[in-house]
Symmetry: C2
Subunit: 386 residues, 2 copies
């Protein structure tokens, strides 16, 4: 047995080794503050839970159509109308097993072998691995504080090559939490369309935006692919449900691929998600958004005070991407050290690409304010700052 | 926008057009007997439903480890020990979003671009589409009644080429319902291993075997990939849960891919599945198996009497693959005709490959005995046989 090239090129999540070590330390009785986990600490909203329970009791456990329950596709379309004032036909919405499924389908219909996808570095690690899985290539473009850790239209133009097929944007971004402003987004869409390429926008952290309201790329163009998820804002991680809004010309191909790759998204999750857009549910989710904002508003200055550099204020998601070069030139070893010595688990930069990962850590504020305060206190003590 | 080669090569399920037409006729007030649907008509077993409900009430809606809940992997391992008297370490079991997810992972770790997978024609249509999705190639080998619609070791040897990487077997087979006998399976495993290839065995219809007990390929070798599902025998289609048992050397690669492609299988489904192996659940499932057997024992002679040729008695799944050349040389048009004129929906052969699809139909006995009787009566009347 020899490893295939695909498997060789795809990296595991490096944080998993740290998480396993954290669990081991906990099993030995140590208390660990978890700031590495990319999952909301809240349960699914009670309305969603109730809808899921009712559906299962009613026997709604058979296959749905490959593109999802028509009533859920319509509910998502209605959400775009109400929440963003954007008209999206339900026919253009494909419900998928998580946003992961949406990205797999989207790249599957767009990408020939050896074609390339432009994306920002740092970025979510799975994105380039999906491309590699499909025998495509990633053109990782280094981004920094000067552009809010987002691509610009100029970069798209500069890095475009004959084999480039698409640009993948994420707003808010994982790991940086930063948004793309609408003008930049519009510029990138225009630039990419001029170049004959496709734009994919990961909006899975939409909803978790602080001090403003993110604009969906669908407000700017019907010809973009927008990927979203019930996991993060809607608090439905384990249910595994997401969606893609696609340009009309691609819908039939996406449905065909969904038939073959998934048969359909999980049925209980689809029924549960029908309750996700109800006003009572949104009220619960908005309270949680405020809790996340309070955490960010505590953690951002606290980390800066300790000597971490976070040059751009993250407006969304639940991450802070911090330059730790004041303390180390090996962020992975530093993360190991902080885990072992300070009892704080943090994700090392190497999970997010090749753009100075050794200088960066990602802090997640997916734990309570009390635990974040404890984590900061431990870091301060260990770093001699308190 | 131009269709990618991958999308061009992947066929939609042709039966979907017939199903849509059937639904339209039903909306117009027509009564249609459904013998086209590849999904058990039974609900999930009550114990499974109860376990799913309890888990959701307990807040078990967060991500699980990528390879599945350890307790579920162990329960599957225990099932192999109890049911098949085969020892399989839980570490070799990866829980996936449906058997579809298991096949995607398996082919993902095995297949380089342009490498080929040998499989029987007729066969389940998604299989070759998964291979194409990954930029691999399918070597479809025509099989017929003489080998029980299954590959032989001689065929594997004969069709093996330099770029062949794996053989994919299905026992019981969809669409033919036939099993591979253990000697043939052993011969294929030996032959393939001699050739340096991998054997993948689709056992998703295991459990639905009549007049005997299917033997898992894991009883013959630890070096095969066995794919199974909670959908068919266990009656959990919409929950989307399956698994793969892999050779130990591939487990780490599969876990890495699962992290990236899926994050994890749906959590409520995993907890629900914990109840699938309990004796009370198995008792329910065995009653259902008997119901399926009674349906087969009715439908097989009834179709033969009408003039359909079914030369090999199908021992498993819930399908009969019938030669309809006594009536037509275009089974798709014939299926359309039977739907419109007789009110019976059947899957045309073209969904299963290129081996005389125009002469074949697949009948599914996933509806009640009363409806099957009605369907047969309608066919008899339409064909002038009653």
């Amino acid at each position: 047995m020899s490893e295939t090239r695909r498997i060789h090129d795809i990296q595991p999540f490096h944080v998993m080794a740290l998480l396993a070590r954290a669990r081991q330390l906990e099993a030995e009785g140590r208390d660990i503050v978890h700031m590495e986990i990319g999952e909301p600490d809240f349960p699914s909203p009670p309305q969603v839970v109730a809808a899921g329970l009712d559906a299962i009791k009613d026997g709604e456990v058979h296959y749905t159509p490959a593109s999802g329950l028509p009533v859920l596709r319509q509910a998502i379309a209605d959400f775009y109308a109400q929440h963003y004032a954007v008209t999206v036909s339900a026919d253009r919405i494909i419900v998928t097993p998580g946003a992961s499924g949406a990205l797999l389908l989207t790249l599957g219909v767009l990408l020939e072998r050896d074609q390339a996808v432009l994306m920002a570095d740092p970025g979510y690690p799975c994105n380039r691995n999906f491309v590699r899985f499909l025998e495509g290539r990633t053109t990782a473009v280094n981004v920094g504080a000067e552009s809010g850790y987002q691509l610009t239209a100029e970069q798209v133009k500069h890095h475009w090559q004959a084999e480039t097929r698409a640009v993948l944007l994420a707003s808010p971004s994982n790991p940086t939490g930063t948004l793309i402003d609408p003008d930049t987004m519009q510029g990138i869409i225009r630039q990419t369309q001029q170049l004959g390429g496709a734009v994919i926008v990961d909006e899975i952290y939409h909803g978790l935006v602080y001090g403003g309201q993110a604009k969906t790329a669908l407000a700017l163009s019907d010809e973009v692919f927008v990927i979203n998820s019930f996991s993060k804002y809607f608090g439905m991680t384990g249910w595994r449900l997401g969606w893609v809004v696609a340009p009309e010309a691609y819908v039939e191909s996406l449905d065909k691929l969904a038939q073959n790759l998934f048969l359909a998204a999980p049925t209980p999750a689809q029924y549960a998600a029908l309750a996700a857009f109800q006003p009572e549910t949104i009220a619960v989710l908005e309270q949680r958004r405020e809790a996340f904002q309070q955490r960010r508003d505590f953690l951002l200055p606290a980390l800066r005070q300790l000597g971490f550099k976070i040059p751009v204020e993250p407006q969304g998601a639940f991450y802070l991407y911090a330059d730790c070069s004041a303390f180390t030139d090996d962020s992975y070893a530093f993360a190991e050290e902080l885990l072992e010595q300070a009892g704080v688990a943090i994700t090392p930069g190497k999970d997010f690409g090749h753009n100075q990962p050794e200088k960066h850590l990602r802090f997640a504020y997916t734990t309570s304010m009390e635990r974040l305060q404890e984590g900061v206190a431990r870091l301060g003590k260990y770093l001699g700052k308190s």
